[in-house]
């Protein structure tokens, strides 16, 4: 899985292409830690090109959410694909994370 990030005006966008599974999960944590350490604590993880996610991937997202919150910011997810949506519902994680349609809209209201 390939990760890339881009710091925008009011948030940083992290993009993941491929399968966010147990192998990729530690990488995601590293990338987000780097982004937050760089001063962007408002992070959007864009999942538009993530076609598969497992529970380890979701777990990593929670770890990243904690890191962003502790830095005074927030972590949001956008562009969720059907399989990922299913996993979110299966684990009740949709109770915790709102899936925004696009990265731009994720921090749209504040």
């Amino acid at each position: 899985m390939q990760f890339s990030y881009e710091v925008k005006d009011s948030y940083a966008e992290v993009k993941g292409v491929g399968r966010l599974n147990m192998v990729a999960a530690p990488k995601l944590r590293e990338v987000v830690a780097e982004v937050v350490a760089g001063g962007s604590s408002r992070v959007v993880v864009n999942l538009a090109e993530t076609d598969f996610m497992d529970s380890s991937g979701l777990g990593a997202l929670i770890g990243c959410l904690k890191a962003a919150r502790q830095a005074g910011g927030d972590l949001r997810i956008a562009g969720v694909q059907p399989q990922v949506k299913m996993v979110l519902e299966l684990t009740n994680m949709d109770r915790v994370l709102t899936a925004y349609p696009s990265a731009e809209e994720a921090f749209g209201n504040d």
Binding site: M22, D54, S55, G59, K66, D74, M93, L97
Partner: protein, 665 residues
């Protein structure tokens, strides 16, 4: 065929058992001696339920065929958990783990954080894991469950083989078990725990052939094979899913609780001295408005991260605005004073408020809100970070010191399957002295009772009734200590005082009791295929003080938050001579039984009691004494000496278990 006979005997046991116990309740109680009659009939009812649950277990006995081959690309992490075991013992296991044939990564999970072990691991090319920096000293550590949860975040194999530091795996352990995971719903494969440092007569009752045999095979038949902490393979996805579901549940609960607590904290704060400050009063208004909105959002189903984020933002913004307003008023005052030249200007020369003061004073700790500690604490709790734990995701259950049982039960409740693979694929070391053995049994019993009291299997949604009863059955068996006391007391009371809890030892008693007893023993014989179960039966009665202590300490722990007095089981033999003090209650009982024997015979000779009653109770006392006699053997046991010349039993291992333990002391 065996299945047919087993089921037939189960049916007979239930019929004859109910026939006996129902008669005992309805027609045989000696109400004049209700104080022993009622406890005895309750104990007998307890035992009937116990044997019925055993019957239910073996009803579905599952003999599995070898699984298909696993996909060649299945990735595995082998975890060896250790806390304070001797280094060479850990290393022996780790090297055996490294030699497992299926491609895998081996990790030593060292909760003792020992630099020497790290060096040893690195020298042998074995992974080494200790708690990450998230586990700050103020976080609960959760013993072995915490150790495993930490390692889960640092590794990424699809499957995890978990081994205690003293369980040496066979090279083919994964070849023989991974194939079960071809079924996508299988989360766990448990193999037996077998001990190589136990003599044939097993003085400490270490081997559990009944459990790692018909009981696990029976539970397997109900899709309820237990996870027993070691020698088991788990699916990471299942554990992580469990961690996520647990996280969501814990977070939602804590947010709900925090919102409720917030309202009462605000109410209280309004009556405090600080609230007379108008600034504080306004802040309380803002906090109240924010929590009320959050509650509405929660009820309308908004996501927890949004809700908590907005509460935080609103409160922070309000505090900032109010503090800034306060400061500008202060600034205005200062300027006014300066203008009137009334102020003595200090060294700094200028009486302006520093630029970052507003920022600093708006921080949670510093703002006037920080002074209202209760409100402050409540606001901190409105979060999704699970601040009370080192990591938000805790896959292995932390509600009990037997994390294995609690975890498996939750996996089953989520719809995962488990497998019991009946083949010894790891060789372990059992405690070699009574004290260590008692500590270990106490810990298992306490953990089991904690699970019962915290997550009663009978009311867990997602479990089938078969699964509920399989978990309940194990918990029920640990209540046996109370029944044992009654079983010891009843014959003592008859032989010394002549008081019989049964209205009469009539023909009717024997005709109901004896067939039940016979079929009861036959059940163990048939279900166990003739495996030795006597040692286990002895210990289940003889360790009654341990079982009772486990119930009382677990209840105190769960209901009143008192510590369990938990100790890690030492793997090395404790030094010192025979320790009779460990079994003081049992010695007292044995003396009372012996006195009763003499008293009973004397009473018979002088014509105070009848022959039949005396005979029955003398036999009963003799049985009790034979049961307790196992403890004499246990106290005198000096540790394992391998048979023959003392040569190592396992030629592949450079040292026998005996030497290993001698080194350890």
């Amino acid at each position: 065929m065996t299945r047919f006979w087993t089921r037939l005997i189960v049916v007979l046991t239930v019929i004859l058992g109910v026939n006996y116990v129902a008669w005992r309740w309805l027609a045989s109680l000696n109400w004049e001696a209700w104080w022993i009659a009622v406890p005895l009939v309750i104990a007998e009812t307890y035992s009937l339920i116990d044997v019925m649950l055993f019957g239910l277990t073996v009803w579905n006995l599952k003999i599995r065929k070898p699984p298909p081959a696993a996909p060649a690309d299945a990735t595995v992490d082998v975890f060896i958990t250790t806390y304070n075991e001797p280094l060479d013992l850990v290393l022996t296991t780790a090297l055996a783990a490294k030699d497992i044939r299926w491609p895998h990564s081996t990790w030593i999970l060292d909760d003792g954080n020992r630099p020497e072990l790290r060096e040893l691991a690195e020298a042998h090319g074995i992974g080494y894991v200790t708690r990450s920096s998230d586990w700050t000293p103020d976080m609960p550590r959760h013993a072995k469950a915490g150790n495993l949860n930490n390692a889960l975040m640092l590794t990424f194999g699809e499957y995890l083989l978990i081994l205690d530091a003293d369980q040496i795996p066979e090279p083919d352990i994964l070849d023989k078990t991974l194939g079960y995971f071809n079924d996508d719903k299988v989360a766990l494969v448990q193999t037996p725990q077998y001990f190589i440092n136990v003599p044939a007569d097993d003085p400490l009752g270490s081997q559990a052939p009944l459990f790692y045999g018909p009981i696990q095979q029976g539970k397997d038949g109900w899709n309820a094979a237990f996870f027993c902490g070691s020698n088991a393979i788990l699916r990471r996805e299942a554990l992580m899913q469990l961690g996520l579901v647990g996280y969501v549940k814990a977070t939602e609960q804590s947010v709900r609780r925090a919102l409720a607590a917030s309202r009462s904290a605000i109410k209280k704060a309004r009556h405090s001295a600080e609230a007379e400050n108008p600034l504080v009063g306004q802040m309380l208004d803002e906090v109240e408005a924010a929590t009320n909105t959050a509650q509405q959002e929660l009820d309308s189903g908004a996501s927890l991260s949004e809700i908590t984020y907005r509460v935080r933002r609103k409160v922070d913004d309000a505090v900032r605005t109010l503090v800034a307003a306060d400061f500008s008023a202060l600034q205005a005052d200062l300027e006014e004073i300066a203008a009137m030249e009334l102020a003595h200007v200090g060294e700094s020369g200028i009486t302006t408020v520093a630029g970052d003061a507003v920022d600093r004073m708006s921080g949670r700790e510093w703002s006037p809100l920080g002074a209202l500690e209760s409100v402050h604490a409540v606001l901190e709790a409105i979060s999704v970070e699970r601040t009370g734990e080192a990591q938000p995701i805790m896959p292995l259950a932390t509600i009990s010191v037997t994390e294995d049982m609690a975890t498996a039960m939750r996996l089953h409740a989520l719809g995962w399957k488990s497998v019991y693979h009946h083949e010894i694929l790891a060789n372990g070391l059992a405690p070699e002295d009574l004290k260590t053995m008692l500590t270990q049994r106490l810990r298992w019993a306490q953990g089991t009772m904690q699970v019962l009291l915290r997550e009663n299997p009978l009311v867990q949604r997602g479990l089938s009734w078969g699964q509920r009863l399989m978990y309940f059955s194990t918990m029920w068996s640990y209540l046996g200590g109370f029944a044992a006391v009654v079983y010891f007391a009843a014959p003592i009371i008859y032989l010394t005082l002549g008081i019989l809890p049964v209205s009469s030892l009539s023909f009717e008693f024997f005709v109901r009791f004896i067939p039940f007893m016979v079929v009861n023993q036959a059940l163990f014989l048939v279900a166990g295929h003739g495996i030795p179960t006597w040692r286990g039966q002895q210990y289940s009665l003889a360790l009654f003080p341990t079982w009772i202590k486990s119930c009382t300490t677990a209840a105190r722990n769960v209901w009143f938050g008192r510590p369990l007095g938990f100790a890690v089981t030492p793997k090395a033999r404790q030094s010192g001579g025979p320790s009779w003090s460990l079994i003081r209650p049992q010695i007292i009982v044995a003396v009372l039984l012996a006195v009763a024997l003499v008293a009973g015979i004397t009473r018979l000779l002088v014509g105070l009691s009848e022959p039949l009653g005396t005979l029955v109770n003398v036999a009963w006392v003799a049985f009790d004494l034979v049961v307790l006699s196992v403890l004499v053997k246990a106290v005198l046991y000096k540790g394992f000496v391998p048979e023959g010349s003392g040569a190592p039993e396992n030629p592949e291992s450079p040292e026998g278990p005996q030497e290993r333990n001698a080194d350890a002391v």
